[in-house]
Amino acid sequence: MDAQLQVITFLRLVMITLVPYVLAAQGTMLGGRTGVFSVAQEGIMLVAASVGFLAAYYLGGLLYGVLAAMLVGGIVGLLLAYFTTTLKMDQFVIGLALFFATAGFSSLAYKVAIGVTLIPPLIPTLPDVPLPVLSQLPLVGDIFFRHNVFVYLAIVLSLVLYVLLYRTGIGLELRAVGESPLAADSLGVNVTLMRYVTTVVGGMLMGLAGVYLPMAYTGTFTEDIVRGRGWLSIALTFFGGWNPHFILLGAFFFAGVEVLAFRAQVTNVGIPYQFLLMLPYLATILVMIPGFRWARVPAFLGRNYDREKRAQV
């Protein structure tokens, strides 16, 4: 392979690989911006991958799988919102409980529906949709504009979220809820509704991130399909400073490391492959060192708002 082709292939793979990171991290960011900190990403991605795969397999269409994944992600988001925002229970404990429940449910659902088989059932993977005109551009066309729809979705979504958050009245209200819900509430902003909407939509995005894995990579569901991408997306959210645009940029790094690790494995660089496979996690731990320093975390992140609570003190 000549160098130019190598670079194009690498960048193409990065574009494909960044999708689940972007989707899950934007979902995390969205909930976090109103104060709800989910730690159930890994579980939601698993259950969405499983249920989404099953829906696509049995109903015979990827769109069904996508819808099912969004539905199940939204349901888990709704549960998280209910337990934290309405019942005011500890966000980390609820997040962990939901993580275990969803992770358990993902393999349960698969085993009940499919059972143990020698040859796994397959669904078709997502087709590439070259964009008219743009995909004809030299270099850039191949790298950016010949991808499945999820790639475009991840990019567009990030830009839309940026505009929504920083250029609209509703974005201002949303950010206010995550900084000072009492201030927002005292000016008539519906704090509860905001937290519910962002957590449910956030769950849907994590669901999309999960179902992307069988649809883009493997064509089937396995129990280790997510491999920590849910947890990594939390790190990405911090790395991106809880800003949609920086999350998108940071995702290039996360995806780049993942692609690098796999390519190095294939090309046999003399390092045992196990150490290459550690790379994404070690790199993430390393970038969290500056990441946690510069991230300006929403002030109310991880806490629950109770309008009348102050009175007891």
């Binding site: 250029r167 609209t168 009245g169 509703i170 201002l172 209200e173 950010r175 206010a176 900084e179 000072s180 009492l182 201030a183 927002a184 509430d185 005292s186 000016l187 008539g188 902003v189 300006r296 002030a299 309008r307 009348e308 009175a311 007891q312 003190v313």
Partner: protein, 514 residues
């Protein structure tokens, strides 16, 4: 008189087991400044939070302009023209002034041009009422006085004609208080009506047309100022709870004969401390507190008081200079050694800095003293001894709890405050560093603290009293120093105490220039 602008009838409210308001009435006439007077825990803020829709009353009705109304949220209150300025400003710190003020009024999907329009309106309002602000400044960078203007503008921006101000003079210099009172009169002249929540009788007499007094969640009386004497207000606020004749709070510190200060116990030399943003919050402070002396530190909140207290207690690093307390050279991490050397600390925010909600009452009572006998021997805790002490303190300080094993989170606010007082005063101290020790206390507890401080002084303790309540300092201190932007503007002796002079120092005029 015409029908009242606002009328609240038979208001009941409880939080858990605690009755906050019982059958309370309140009415506001158009064009008046109506004082709502009472000690902490009297229910003033709760009543007004109900009017503003932040709390929901358990029973009772609200009438506005003669109409019965249901107020479920601040949104409803704002629609009725009711705005409220809370004591703790409800602001989004990293947002700009215009973002804070216009929050919730901008079109959902509207963009920058609406923000610009809002900024123009804010400028106009600011000029009309003499409340100068820069709409594009970030709120967390602004001094407290300006943040209060932002808070008032928030209400005016929404067209409020009823303005509720909750303890608005907290953290203002005496000069700023005068200016605020002038603005209030200007607002009333322009057709607004004001509800003025306070626990200071002097303020009622200075600015209010009428006053309603609350005590323990009940009405005491409502009268016009013209026919009210200060003594009536004192008696109304405290009821039979307190012997007013012998109260420091209402009759002042007794004159003592000869006062001889002893050996220096707190020595601070050229102290510089960095704030959270790594900018010096305390700069070049030098002072000494001797045996049998109370040194007060005055200043508007946020001028380095917290950093000063924390550096002295070894909680925050000392960037430069020397601190010696009770013969011990303080460094960051010295806290436990200081506590072991009979240095006591009452932190500013007792709920954040002193209270363990998820642990038991007993755990709370021994925090900081847990390594001392009788509570522990060597590495092991002596729980029977801890429980014994805990039962004693529970009785002595009248803490309502099922016992030492109850989880502290179950306690009511007043009981938590008494728990904190019990811990602070149960263990004898030679040196006390107290930061706003009476904030949030009801009148008897405040009186109790004052008594304890003066007792400790009499037996030779050295006390550094950092307070944002100037009246408290004037009452208790032998000397008062004033902090402004982390610098000590000068220390005045008791004969030289003058409220307005200290006020000037709080605003940055050094003692020599004043």
């Amino acid at each position: 008189m015409t029908a009242p602008l606002v009328e609240m009838r038979h208001i009941h409210k409880r939080f858990g087991d605690v009755v906050a308001l019982e059958d309370v009435h309140f009415e506001l006439q158009a064009g008046e400044i109506h004082g709502l007077l009472g000690g902490n825990g009297a229910g003033k803020t709760t009543l007004m939070n109900i009017l503003y829709g932040l709390y929901t009353a358990d029973r009772g009705e609200i009438h506005v302009r003669g109409q019965r109304v249901l107020i479920h949220s601040p949104r409803d209150a704002l629609h009725l023209g009711i705005g409220m300025v809370h004591q703790h400003f409800l602001q989004v710190a990293p947002f700009t002034v215009v973002e804070n003020i216009a929050l919730g009024t901008l079109p959902r999907l509207g963009g920058k041009k609406h923000v610009r329009a809002a900024a123009d309106r804010i400028q106009a309002l600011a000029q009309q009422f003499g409340l100068a602000v820069d709409p594009h400044a970030v709120v967390e960078d602004l001094p407290v006085g300006v943040r209060q203007r932002v808070e008032i503008l928030k209400a005016l921006y929404r067209g409020a004609d009823v303005l509720i101000l909750d303890e608005p003079t907290t953290n203002l210099t005496p000069q700023e208080v005068d200016a605020l009172f002038q603005s209030l009169r200007a607002m009333v002249a322009q057709g607004l009506s004001v509800i003025f929540i306070t626990h200071k009788i002097r303020e009622v007499m200075a600015v209010c047309d009428r006053v309603t007094v609350l005590r323990e969640g009940r009405n005491v009386f409502t009268r016009s100022r013209a026919e009210t004497r200060e003594e009536d207000l004192v008696r109304g606020m405290v009821g039979e709870q307190l012997d007013v004749q012998h109260s420091f709070l209402f009759s002042g510190r007794p004159q003592e004969t000869e006062h001889t200060a002893g050996a220096p116990l707190i020595q601070v030399h050229d102290l510089t401390v960095l704030g959270d943003n790594n900018v010096p919050a305390v700069q070049g402070c030098t002072f000494t507190v001797r045996e049998g002396e109370i040194l007060g530190i005055a200043g508007v909140a946020g001028n380095g008081q917290t950093e000063l207290a924390e550096a002295l207690m070894g909680i925050r690093p000392i960037a430069q200079g020397e601190v010696t307390i009770n013969g011990y050279r303080v460094r960051v991490g010295s806290t436990r050694h200081l506590l072991a050397r009979d240095v006591a600390y009452i932190p500013e925010d007792r709920l954040e800095d002193g209270y363990l909600p998820a642990a038991s009452v007993a755990h709370n009572l021994i925090l900081g003293y847990h390594r001392r006998p009788p509570y522990s021997r060597g590495s092991f805790l002596d729980w029977p001894a801890v429980f014994q002490a805990a039962w004693r303190l529970i009785k002595e300080y009248n803490i309502r709890t099922a016992g030492p094993t109850e989880i502290a989170a179950n306690l009511s606010g007043g009981n938590i405050q008494r728990l904190m007082l019990a811990r602070a005063f149960a263990h004898p101290f030679r040196v006390l560093i107290a930061h706003n020790p009476t904030r949030g206390l009801d009148i008897p507890s405040t009186e109790f603290v004052y008594r304890k401080l003066l007792e400790a002084r009499a037996r030779g303790a050295a006390i550094l009293l950092i307070s944002e309540d100037l009246d408290e300092l004037l009452l208790l201190c032998d000397r008062i120093g004033t902090l402004y932007r982390g610098q000590l503007m000068g220390i005045l002796d008791r004969p030289a105490f003058d409220k307005y002079r200290i006020g000037e120092m709080m605003a940055g005029v050094a003692a020599t220039q004043a």
